[in-house]
Amino acid sequence: MVRNFELTSNLLKDVLVIKTEGYINNAGGEKILQEFENHFENGVTKVLIDIENSRVVNSIGISFLIEIIEKLNSKGGKLFFQNLDPSIEKTFTIMGLFQFAEKISTVDEIK
């Protein structure tokens, strides 16, 4: 069945971990950006997005992640992704996200 977009977030040391669930469309992308901004204002510069439970994305939703990358770049921060499914990884590659963001397997890889 169709499910609404949801996210949970928590701070693991200095890393903001955002776990998404459901379709990352326009509204979903906006919610991720909003959550990011709430913490970015407080100085967070390392962000991990775990999209294991988002099996559907669109390019409008992902365009909000470019805004996150831009803001993190301006402060020497970085965006990380976890649990990318292969077609979403390919999408990010085509869009050039990995020129600035990084795919990791566990949060411990973030220094």
């Binding site: 390019s59 409008i60 831009e70």
Partner: protein, 138 residues
């Protein structure tokens, strides 16, 4: 003879309605035993094609037709809208660096469809746009 299945959908302009087509794609792929990776990439094509078509479908005919023809070897996706059309050659290739510092970070749909498909054709006029996407599945 090769098994050949079709799914035809006329979608109204309703938030997230592209999910209807994605489910159909997944179920047809499962029926024919197509790998998740191939179907995953086809899902990206379908999503991008439909959201473009819905965004630009005119207010007079706020519908988009989506037709799938699938065999074990190949998927052909046809997406038709009745909007004002556009000139594909005038669309600049997006680059992530160019998006920094600008308000609008969008403009990725055509590039994704071009890069992830095995065939991509656009026919567009002032009466609407038809895109044909091909994906090799075998």
């Amino acid at each position: 003879m090769d098994q050949h299945i079709k799914l035809e959908i006329k979608l109204p302009k309703v938030t997230d309605i592209e999910l209807v087509a994605l489910d159909g794609l997944v179920l047809m792929g499962r029926h024919l035993g197509i790998t998740d990776d191939k179907i995953g990439e086809a899902r990206i094509l379908v999503t991008e094609g439909i959201i473009n078509a819905l965004e630009h479908s005119g207010s007079e005919i706020p519908y988009v037709n989506v037709d799938f023809t699938m065999t074990k070897e190949k998927l052909v996706i046809l997406i038709t809208d009745f909007g004002k059309g556009f000139e594909p050659d005038e669309i600049k290739e997006p680059k992530i660096i160019d998006k920094f510092g600008t308000e609008n970070k969008r403009g990725w749909g055509l590039k994704l469809m071009k890069s992830m498909s095995d065939g991509f054709k656009i026919e567009s006029s002032k009466n609407g746009t038809k895109i044909t996407l091909t994906k090799i599945l075998s």
